[in-house]
Symmetry: D3
Subunit: 325 residues, 6 copies
């Protein structure tokens, strides 16, 4: 029986010395050198619901396993529970890194990292249907070309590191939700060019598939730090649009949606939205980002208290109980 | 033949001395005292497309007409065109204030002040249908009670003095557009209580019917300055909800939508949105406010240049031409 | 002999195993479920000068006592001192919750929570004298009606959770101090309507008696989060003013003092102060809030260093020694 | 009979050609060179209630008078009224600069520039009584030494160019008002060292006597631009304190009141207030500055409308009518 | 003899009716329709030192000339001087647009628009020497390729519309000044890669050659509004770098200098500077931008007053006289 | 053999009980009283690379040593290693405070606190050469007089507590770097008075030699909190300039450089830079401060990762690897 980190922590001091086994992600791994010249590792290991720190010396039986695996690897560990004053600090006796194939086992990843609540494959199917529904041939081809290039990464990326939709498949989920809102609202705003707005929404955050890296432990990539997802997404669209022979006029407007979707320069927009489609896409992005925070807080509420913790993105706690009357 | 202010200004200096007749609103009227003790008026007269200043002394044949009419009145004037260095400065010989009945003549008001492009009566019918579609009896009764009290004023109020939907019927138009968006988006956000969100949207800006005053020249009222539309709207809803015997739970949530809809305290929110319905209503308000600025800029563009003037609410000029390809 | 938390912490590791007894408030109590399905409690216990964390499992002899008592209860505990690396982590063997009557014992509460340095009953007597000194009959009746409703809570509320006058009776103390300053300054500003300003000052923060809750552990209430103390105080005054048949003119000005006293919208004001009385009350609030921070820092200084810690409300440490020459 | 600018403007176009005489301040005088090489002046002339622009060529009979007088001079002019499209643009035929003696005529200056409503000599007497009431000998001597140096200038300086107490004697008036408030509040805040706080208040703005220059047309001086009134006032106090042999301890605290009285660095404070006296003085400054704006708006209201214009310092119009009930 | 606008304005009313001739730029031209259906032009005409407005009707002898010429054209006009109340409002009798060849006449442009004080051809020679001095072959080829594409436009562009170096050749001047500072400072900061920093500086503002358009009347282009100069410059460098086969590593760092040179996102940076070269280039940009404002204010000072007008970019007037001792 | 804190921490739990000896600074020392009335110390001990906490009771053999030594002392300690759950918590058996002479031993201080990488004596020689190179006699004498007064302290002060050049000799290093940049840039900006700019740069931060105190543990002094380094530096320059008989004109400009060098009031500037020299000095300060952060991050990088931690002063991590191609 594998124990989750939450279960291990719940055991408490009285379980000291009891054997356990768990499946854990290597969230952080820092190699350090002791004064005797030997290397040791400072690790953070965790799963979907928590994490703990531990130190592995060179003479440990599991040292080589962690050395070979590195950050982001999934490890099956065995050992004995140890608590010092309430902090979990187990001694590890065995460790085995899972292969790529083993990672595909059903339900496995779901226990290790937070994942979008909707089924990723169904979201992906729906996403592709939104692409196919674009009637303008070159616009559709442009969108298609971008996802031919980065679709696989896009499918599992989070939409953020710490804010809305900050979990596996979160980027796909957020984009599909925006596409649904776009389709629902287009009849109300006839001045908006539907194909252009939809193409812009499907592409607006594609730069994040490059900006964030690490399948099980997300951080900003080198390109993310040096260029930012707005410029990276613009470049993806530009390349694809030229390949798809999209007219210069439409390509410029499509790029503009990506360059302006963050709303304000201080939030990362290269320019202010200056076309109906760019204003429209930017506002839908804002709406679904906030509603995504609401949805996640409701999922995590699990009936404890009346209010969630303060949500930084809303500047407030959220009332998580539905009205009774 | 009545001339508009735009037409008069277009005539230019060469028309000096030519007779004219126009229908004009008294936009500002300030009574001043000359050193001889006599009163004279400094006026701003205008219609939908422009305005000019003029001074009326006590011995003018039109003095008594303006004295009786006051700010916001509609006057039929006759006189002679005069230009000083390009500025229109006509001499008025006759003036006649229109009665309430005459103001009802078809097309008349439309020439004097900017008006929502959609028909106000049709908007009002649609608005009432949104009320009727609320299934929760006490919520519907609460909304109905508010509009029994301030509906007539609400119907012609602008949604702002200088920003989005800042024209006659603009408040009604903006609220109907938000209700349409709410109805379109509710299926996508099942965590939102539909009746509560719709009631909140229909009521969110009702305080503006008190904050703004003047049918043909809008300014903030005394209550608007001393309490603000957020508190005024909250008070309207509270009174109506108690009359309709709405449960304390739902009334508190409804009031919260109104108190938080401005988003940030610095924009006037009493508190941050802390329920799913309040977040939802606030984001729809934001979306339609921005799209309203887009729609107005497109209407006013009339094919002149490629871009509009810089729109303060968008921090940018707007590209007003649709894509050609 | 009961030990304070400060005393227990001062004992240090060498006291491990020594028996002790203390009177403590349950500052936080979170029920959690272990992997074996049993519930355990994560507690924060403390008194006026400090707190510590501990975990109570279901088989502990004190488990049922904490379960019945809940957050904010006062418990007499006995046990043995334990330190892990400098952190106090005692083992509790006995626990007994105090009754409401026992909480009234002289000096008891003062050791458990921070309390205004001035005597609460004397402050309350002075406060009521300020009400009685209002000469305008309906204004006085309005103020009286509010405190008939929320006076008992008002008397012990803190004026804030973390800033100025953030302690038991702090709201009463701050309001009395403002009333004293108002009385002292009124002769200097004859344009200020004395009764109106005094009534506004006595009522300006009454919403906090609803916004904060918990007698021994303060947090924001549901109504505080959903409406905020500004609107809650406005509503209290409105109800009382209508009951007292205060003229619409004076009620509007009184409400305006409450709605505007926070100064800037970003600090919570519904509108900017727009009457002489509202400007006056807002500035006195500001003055006494800052001086309250000074007074508290001086009380806590106790002759240690020359400067206090950095005070967030002053953006600076405070020089706590009086001048010597 | 001398006409004020308000009276001249009230005459209007029909008075064209009528002779007039006025007493006016030269508010701005810019010498310019025409293409023929001759110099001409672009002037702004005005009195307490208004101003107008005019151009004086080298062949004008009044050219030499203005050339000799310069900015800030007071000139008796005669000429003929001329209006172009409502703007006063008189032709000047005679001009005579008043001597220093003539400027002392009773009531003369009061018509040319705005002046504190309280009598300046009485304010000055009261001000000196505040100095005399300081019981600490060296503190009193320090304050006295500063006003021995800059008292004459201080007496007529405005407290600001465009905000509160921005008129002749305004600095004296504002400081006396603060001293009165200080005396009234000291009994309520016993932790404040009374002599130190009073000395700090009397000195806090003395740098403005150097920062602003020009008796009838105020602008920032070279020293004001290069050092600012906070540092200039600190330097005045430092020099005087050393001369008066004030202890280093008290001098440092006195300087600190001046350096910190602006409250926030972005408003000009060199440091944040970090002593009880500095916090106290800074808050009284803030209170009286705002109340000074209120008092000035009430004086200027003169029964016209219900509200003043928007006051930038209050971010709001002010309700200028007293309550009726 | 041609008169400048400054000379015409200096003549004043007494010159009414006198004939004149001038060389003027069409700064703005708006076509409007009179009520009789005829088109007329509202023009702003000016030269380096000033401008004036005038209206040209369809029956004017110069109407067709302006119609054909459009905004930014240079016109030789003849007519009669007219003043209305100090405002120049001449009547134009003849107009002749200059050809491209005629615009090349020595000294002509210099009188029509503000121009960098240093000789443009010498600046351009120096600029190219900076390119040639880059030792890294692909970096040099990349820079060269960009200026092969946009060099001609770059050479005459202003560096801004309203702030530093906002005049013809200002972009070239500012970039050369930065290159000189770069060369002078590189020995002091050995951690900076010299060729990379110099290439980044030469390219950092090239997007402005696209963002600004109009040789004699500058405004933001469509691409400037929709993409901004940061992204436009990044795209120029990217295209050139790929053509020059610059390594991916260096191209990314070069692009990063351009993307981050504005310093803060709210000033337009796509990302914060994250390499030594990007920090270095950004700070040199800042230094020379401010010093450029100083230099321009000193040039324009011309010995009038001690201080310049307030310079928005420095938030202060500048002391324009050199120290005397 | 002495162990560094980094070495001790690297040993880990397995070294428990092993003897060690170290040379450590007393970074913080707080005396506390146990409930038995005895005093004990809570200490933070550390060296250049780390620190740990420990508690010393009155009966410890090392109690008197720490009591006599106080904060900032350097102590040679011996004891046994102890770890609790990864935190170093050694037991001290012997302690010996080093004398002033012993502190002078080569390499000793360098191991205890972070020190400028360049040799302090060489920096000081170069610094004095910059003073000697000032050709204007009184300016040079002014600068010299300031360093006669505070040179010894200036030489070892850090330039900041937590930002750029925040280490021993950092103030000297930063000032020398600015002087080098000043000398390199002066030929490019001929409008800048070289001697004045250089004198201003050498003096601009001298107030920090008073604002920061403690040779081995830096904190803000009383004068730093009450006056701030800008005013303290201004006062140093003023006193020295008057002693050196510097002309009032140059002294005012020199003081202005100091008063304005922080750039914006919210960053501590008393006024905005308003002379060419002040703008120049302020921008060089900014440039070298940022480059100093870059240099320090590169020194600390030591080949670990590609990027540094996020640097608060740059709002970004820094790419610490040089380009490879």
């Amino acid at each position: 029986m594998l124990s989750t980190v939450r279960e291990l922590k719940a055991l408490g001091t009285d379980a000291n010395g009891r054997p356990f086994a768990s499946l854990l992600v290597v969230k952080k791994l820092a190699a350090k050198t002791a004064s005797n010249g030997n290397t040791f590792f400072s690790l953070e290991l965790g799963d979907r619901h928590g994490s703990f720190s531990c130190t592995i010396f060179g003479d440990s039986p599991v040292f080589e396993v962690f050395k070979a695996a590195g950050e982001g690897a999934v490890i099956r560990v065995e050992g004995k529970i140890e608590f010092y004053q309430g902090r979990l600090s187990p001694r590890l006796a065995k460790a085995l890194a899972l292969s790529e194939d083993e990672l595909g086992a059903p339900g496995l990843i779901e226990n290790l990292v937070e994942i979008a609540p909707e089924n990723a494959d169904e979201l992906w199917t729906e996403f592709n249907a939104f692409i196919d529904a674009i009637t303008h041939i070159e616009l559709r081809a442009t969108v298609r070309a971008v996802f031919d290039e980065i679709g696989a990464t896009f499918k599992w990326s989070p939409a953020a590191i710490a804010m809305h939709h900050a979990y596996r498949h979160g980027l796909l989920e957020h984009t599909v939700h925006m596409a649904r809102a776009c389709r629902a609202l287009l009849p109300l705003y006839p001045e908006v060019h539907g194909d252009l707005a939809m193409a812009g929404i499907l592409l607006h955050d594609t730069g994040k598939a490059i900006e964030y890296e690490g399948t099980l432990a997300t951080k900003r990539s080198r390109r993310g730090i040096l260029q930012g997802h707005v410029v990276l997404g613009y470049q993806l669209a530009r390349k694809a649009g030229m390949k798809a022979k999209l007219s210069a006029e439409l390509l410029e407007r499509l790029e503009h949606i990506i360059l302006s979707h963050q709303g304000e320069p201080e939030w990362g927009a290269a320019v202010y939205a200056a076309t109906p489609e760019a204003v429209f896409a930017s506002m839908i992005d804002n709406l679904d980002a906030k509603m995504g925070m609401v949805q996640r807080a409701l999922r995590q509420a699990a009936g404890d208290g009346e209010f969630s913790e303060r949500l930084p993105g809303l500047s407030s706690p959220l009332l998580t109980r539905p009205p009774t009357a």
